[in-house]
C-alpha cells in the first residue's frame, strides 16, 4: 500500500482509486469519496491522520468501493488544499504533459 | 478443507502427519525429512505412505522411492509460487508416476485448470468451492495450445487432423 506522506507531516488527507473506474478520489468529512481534493477532510497531527486512514480503509475492505487507500501530505493555502508532493499533485490534477485531460481543466494553475 | 479427486468431491482417506506427531493408523502423508528418517518404519506398517514436498524440494529427491509411495503431495506456499506445476509434470512425464499427485496449500480456483493439465489428480480446496465452481474452472478452455500431462489433444494436432480430414473429403 502506497505511503506518500512524510514522517511528522502536519496535515494529511486520505486518497484512493475507485474500484469501478480507477478514478482518484478523496475521503470527505461525510464519509463520501469526492473527485475534488477541495472536499477532502484534512487531519491534523499523527493520531488524527491514523484515525482518518482507518475510516477510509473501511471502504476498501469490507466496503469494496475503493482501492489503494492511503494517507498523503497536504498544505492549506489561500487557494485551498494543495498536495505537497509532485506525485500527489499529478494525481490530483492529471498528467502534466496533457493539460487538456484529467481534472486540471477545472483547476487553475495547479501545476504552477 | 475439501478434497477433489479425479474431478469428484470425496472424503479424504489420508492424514497429514506433522514431524513430531505420533503416526495414526491408516494412510499417512509425511514430510520429506520424516520419510528420509523413518522410511523403513513407515513402509513396514503395511498402509499407504505419501510424501509432501515443499517448494524447493524437487521430485528427483524421491524419484527412486516412487514405486513405494502411493501419494506425492506438492505444496503451494502462496498461489504465486508455481514451482509445483513443474514438479507435477516431472512426476508424471519424467518419472512416469502413477500414484496420486495432490495439490496442497494456497491455490486459487483460477488455477484448477492448470493444475489438472499438469497432472494433479487430487486438489485440497477451500470450503467455498462447489462442484459447479470446479466444473466451470476446468471447462474454461476447450482446446489448449500445448501438449500436457492431461492428454488433451493440443490445437496443433487438432488442426492437422482437421486438415487431413479435409484432404480426404476433398
Amino acid at each position: 500500500m502506497a505511503q506518500h506522506t512524510r514522517k511528522g507531516a502536519q496535515f494529511q488527507a486520505v486518497t484512493a482509486n475507485r474500484l469501478a473506474d480507477g478514478v482518484v478520489v478523496y475521503l470527505t468529512p461525510e464519509n463520501g469519496w469526492s473527485e475534488s481534493l477541495q472536499h477532502a477532510e484534512v487531519a491534523e497531527g499523527k493520531e488524527a491522520g491514523e484515525a482518518l486512514l482507518a475510516r477510509g480503509q473501511q471502504f476498501f475492505e469490507p466496503g469494496n468501493l475503493v482501492l489503494d487507500v492511503y494517507l498523503f501530505e497536504v498544505e492549506k493555502t489561500d487557494n485551498g488544499i494543495r498536495a505537497s508532493s509532485v506525485r500527489e499533485t499529478i494525481r490530483q490534477a492529471g498528467p502534466t504533459v496533457r493539460r487538456d485531460l484529467g481534472k486540471q481543466a477545472e483547476l487553475a494553475g495547479v501545476h504552477e | 478443507m475439501q478434497l477433489i479427486k479425479n474431478g469428484k468431491f470425496v472424503a479424504d482417506e489420508w492424514k497429514h502427519v506433522a514431524d513430531d506427531e505420533a503416526l495414526p493408523e491408516g494412510a499417512v502423508i509425511v514430510s520429506l525429512q520424516r520419510w528420509q528418517k523413518e522410511q523403513n518404519l513407515l513402509l513396514s506398517r503395511g498402509t499407504p505412505v505419501g510424501v509432501q514436498l515443499k517448494s524447493g524440494e524437487e521430485p528427483s529427491l524421491i524419484a527412486e522411492h516412487l514405486d513405494r509411495l502411493a501419494l506425492v503431495a506438492l505444496e503451494f506456499p502462496v498461489y504465486r509460487n508455481g514451482r509445483a506445476f513443474s514438479y507435477a509434470r516431472l512426476l508424471r512425464e519424467r518419472y512416469d508416476y502413477k500414484g496420486e499427485v495432490r495439490a496442497v496449500g494456497a491455490v486459487l480456483r483460477d488455477q484448477f485448470y492448470f493444475l489438472v493439465r499438469c497432472g494433479f489428480d487430487a486438489l485440497e480446496v477451500r470450503d467455498e468451492i462447489t462442484p459447479e465452481i470446479f466444473a466451470e474452472s476446468i471447462g474454461t478452455f476447450t482446446h489448449p495450445y500445448q501438449t500436457s500431462t492431461d492428454g488433451t489433444e493440443p490445437v496443433m494436432s487438432l488442426r492437422q487432423r482437421l486438415a487431413a480430414q479435409a484432404r480426404k473429403a476433398g
Binding site: 473506474d21 480507477g22 475492505e61 504533459v97 | 508455481g82 476447450t142 487438432l158
Partner: protein, 552 residues
C-alpha cells in the same frame, strides 16, 4: 499476417468470458483485490496513478489496418481518444474503467486481438523486428517462429506462475532491431552450412535494477527442437528461480548466481529429457502452415530507379528531409520501408490519437498491403511501400501530423510514461523528453549530430530502456524532488552494452543543458564518420564527465 482459425477464436472468446466472470465477482465483492490482482494482471489490467491502464498485445508488433481502426475506435469509446505504443510493441490505454473492460475485450476479440499475458508472472508478448519480411539480409521472417512461440506460451499450464515476468525476443538479421540481448530469452535465427534453419539462444538479459547482457547457451538449436529447448529453459527457471525476493527473481539473477556454464548444463539435461519424450517436436507441417500466413505480399515487378521520386525530392526540401530520415531500403526493387514518427517536437513520444491511428490504417490500406508494424522505439512502420507512392504517403502522413522527419535522430527518443501516469515512477520522463526535443528541434542540427538515441526512464524499472540508450536518463527522487541521472554509451543492438553512469544526478532545471553539453562535447571531439556511440566507445566517459561537472 496470422489469421485466427476456429481454435484461436474460441480460446480468446473463452478467455473474455472467464475475465468477465472474474470482473463481476470482483465488483460484487466476492473476489478480494488480493485474489483478483493476479487475474487482472494476466489480462493486462494495471492500476496506475489516475486510473486503470490496459495493455493490449500486438504480437511481434504486427497489425492489420482493420485492427488499427478498431484500436482507434476503442480508444475513442472507452478511453480519451489516444494510446501509447510501448517498448515491447504493445499499445497502452491510460483511462479505461474496469467495469467497461469486458466489453472492450469483446471488441478486441472481434478483430483477433486481446490483452492476454501482457502482465503478470508469465510469458509476455514475443517481440521482433519491425522490418520483418522487408529486410534484405533476413534469414527468414522472424514472425513465423514468433507466432509458434506465442501459441506455445499462451495459457501454458506449467508456466503461468513463474518467479517473475518472462520476455522473449526474436531476430533474423545481423543488425538486431529486436534487442534480443537484453531479454530473458533472445533468439537469433541462423542458417547452417547445409542451409538448415536453427537458433542461437541467449538467456538472462534484462534491464531494470540490475541491467545485464544475455549469455549464449544454445549455439544452434534445430528448428524442430526449439519448443523443447524453450520448455526446458522455462522449467529450469520455474523450479530454480528465486521466490523469496521479487527483486531477485528474474532469470538473469539465476544465471548470474549459478553461472552460464551451469545454466547451460541444467537446460541441456532437461532438454534431452523433454526431447526424448518427443511431445514437443515441432512438425514441419505446422511450420509450413504458419509460414503461409507470413508469405510475401503480391509485390509488383518494378525497377528500383524511380524518377518521379527523385523529382519530388529535388522539388520539395521537406519531402527530401523526410525520405532521408524516415525511409529505408527494402529487399524488393522499387519498394521502400517507411518509418512513421510518433515523436513530434514537444509532444509525448510514442503517443497516437485515434484520428492518427485511423490515418495510418487508411494509408496502410491504400499503400502498404494493409499492414502496420510497431517498433520498440515507439514508432510505427509501413514495411512495404512502393517508391512511387512515397510522396503521396508523405502528404497523407503530414496531414495527420505524423511526418516529423526525425527517425533515428536525436529527437527520436524513447520515454516511459513516468510520473505523469505510472504508479511506480519517481520522476517525470515525458516532460524531459519534450524539452530535449524542443532544444534540438532544428533539423539541420539534428542531421549534423546524426544518429543518437536518448532513452528516458522515470524509475529504476527502466521501461524506457535507459540503460541501452546512447544517452540514458534515469529519473530519481531525492527527498521529494525530481533528479536525473545520466548514463552514456549504452546500445540495444547486436553490440549490446549497458551505459556508464557519468556522475551525480542533475536537477530538472539542469538536465536539458546537461544533454546539450554532452552533444557539444561529442561534436567537438568526434572524428570523421563517427556517430555519438562510436566517439564514446573511442574516448570513454572522461571527456564528457569533465565538461559536465567542470563548473561543479
Amino acid at each position: 499476417m496470422y489469421r485466427y482459425d476456429e481454435f484461436d477464436h474460441r480460446l480468446v472468446t473463452e478467455r473474455v468470458e472467464q475475465f468477465r466472470g472474474q470482473v463481476a465477482r470482483r465488483l460484487s465483492g466476492e473476489l478480494s483485490e488480493d485474489e483478483f490482482k493476479p487475474l487482472r494482471l494476466m489480462n493486462g489490467v494495471y492500476l496506475q496513478l489516475h486510473a486503470y491502464m490496459l495493455r493490449i498485445a500486438v504480437p511481434y508488433g504486427t497489425l492489420s489496418s482493420r485492427q488499427l481502426h478498431k484500436l482507434a475506435d476503442i480508444a475513442r469509446k472507452y478511453d480519451k481518444g489516444y494510446g501509447h505504443f510501448t517498448t515491447r510493441q504493445n499499445l497502452q490505454l491510460n483511462w479505461p474503467a474496469l467495469k467497461d473492460i469486458p466489453a472492450l475485450l469483446d471488441e478486441l476479440a472481434s478483430v483477433e486481438m486481446h490483452c492476454i499475458q501482457t502482465s503478470g508472472n508469465c510469458i509476455r508478448n514475443v517481440t521482433s523486428d519491425h522490418y520483418a519480411g522487408a529486410a534484405s539480409d533476413e534469414v527468414e521472417d522472424p514472425r513465423i517462429i514468433s507466432e509458434i512461440i506465442r501459441q506455445w506460451s499462451t495459457f501454458h499450464p506449467e508456466f503461468s506462475f513463474l518467479p517473475r515476468k518472462f520476455k522473449i525476443a526474436v531476430c533474423a538479421t545481423k543488425n538486431d532491431r529486436a534487442a534480443i540481448k537484453v531479454h530473458d530469452i533472445g533468439i537469433q535465427i541462423l542458417k547452417n552450412a547445409a542451409g538448415e534453419i536453427g537458433y542461437e539462444v541467449w538467456v538472462g538479459g534484462g534491464l531494470g535494477r540490475t541491467p545485464i547482457i544475455g549469455k549464449k547457451i544454445g549455439d544452434f538449436i534445430r528448428r524442430e527442437d526449439l519448443l523443447a529447448y524453450l520448455e526446458a529453459t522455462l522449467r529450469v527457471y520455474n523450479m530454480q528461480g528465486r521466490r523469496d525476493n521479487a527483486y531477485k527473481a528474474r532469470i538473469k539473477i539465476l544465471v548470474h548466481e549459478i553461472g552460464t556454464e551451469e545454466m547451460k548444463r541444467l537446460v541441456e539435461e532437461e532438454f534431452a529429457a523433454v526431447k526424448a519424450r518427443g511431445a514437443l517436436q515441432l512438425p514441419d507441417a505446422e511450420v509450413e502452415r504458419i509460414k503461409t500466413y507470413f508469405a510475401a505480399p503480391a509485390f509488383e515487378t518494378l525497377p528500383d530507379a524511380t524518377p518521379e521520386l527523385d523529382a519530388a525530392i529535388a522539388r520539395e526540401p521537406a519531402f527530401a528531409d523526410w525520405v532521408k530520415a524516415n525511409v529505408t531500403a527494402h529487399r524488393v526493387p522499387g519498394y521502400a520501408i517507411v518509418n512513421v514518427s510518433l515523436k513530434p517536437i514537444g509532444k509525448p513520444p510514442g503517443d497516437a490519437t485515434s484520428d492518427q491511428m485511423d490515418a495510418v490504417a487508411d494509408i496502410a490500406e491504400k499503400y502498404a498491403f494493409s499492414e502496420i508494424r510497431v517498433a520498440h522505439e515507439q514508432n510505427l512502420c509501413l514495411a512495404h511501400v512502393r517508391k512511387k507512392d512515397l510522396y503521396a504517403v508523405w502528404q497523407a502522413l503530414s496531414a495527420a501530423d505524423l511526418a516529423t522527419a526525425n527517425v533515428g535522430l536525436i529527437t527520436d527518443q524513447i520515454a516511459c510514461p513516468g510520473l505523469d501516469y505510472c504508479n511506480l515512477a519517481n520522476a517525470r520522463s515525458i516532460s524531459v523528453a519534450e524539452r530535449i526535443s524542443e532544444r534540438f528541434a532544428d533539423l539541420k542540427l539534428q542531421h549534423e549530430i546524426g544518429r543518437l538515441h536518448i532513452n528516458t526512464s522515470g524509475c529504476i524499472n527502466a521501461c524506457g530502456h535507459h540503460h541501452v540508450g546512447h544517452i540514458g536518463i534515469l529519473g530519481v527522487d531525492k527527498k521529494g524532488v525530481e533528479y536525473y541521472q545520466v548514463t552514456l554509451g549504452g546500445a540495444a543492438d547486436e553490440t549490446a552494452t549497458v551505459g556508464d553512469i557519468v556522475g551525480p544526478a542533475f536537477t530538472e532545471a539542469e538536465i536539458v543543458d546537461a544533454v546539450d553539453t554532452i552533444v557539444k562535447t561529442y561534436l567537438d571531439i568526434r572524428k570523421d564518420g563517427e556517430i555519438f556511440l562510436d566517439t564514446y566507445r573511442r574516448v570513454g566517459v572522461q571527456p564528457f564527465k569533465e565538461k559536465l561537472y567542470a563548473a561543479h
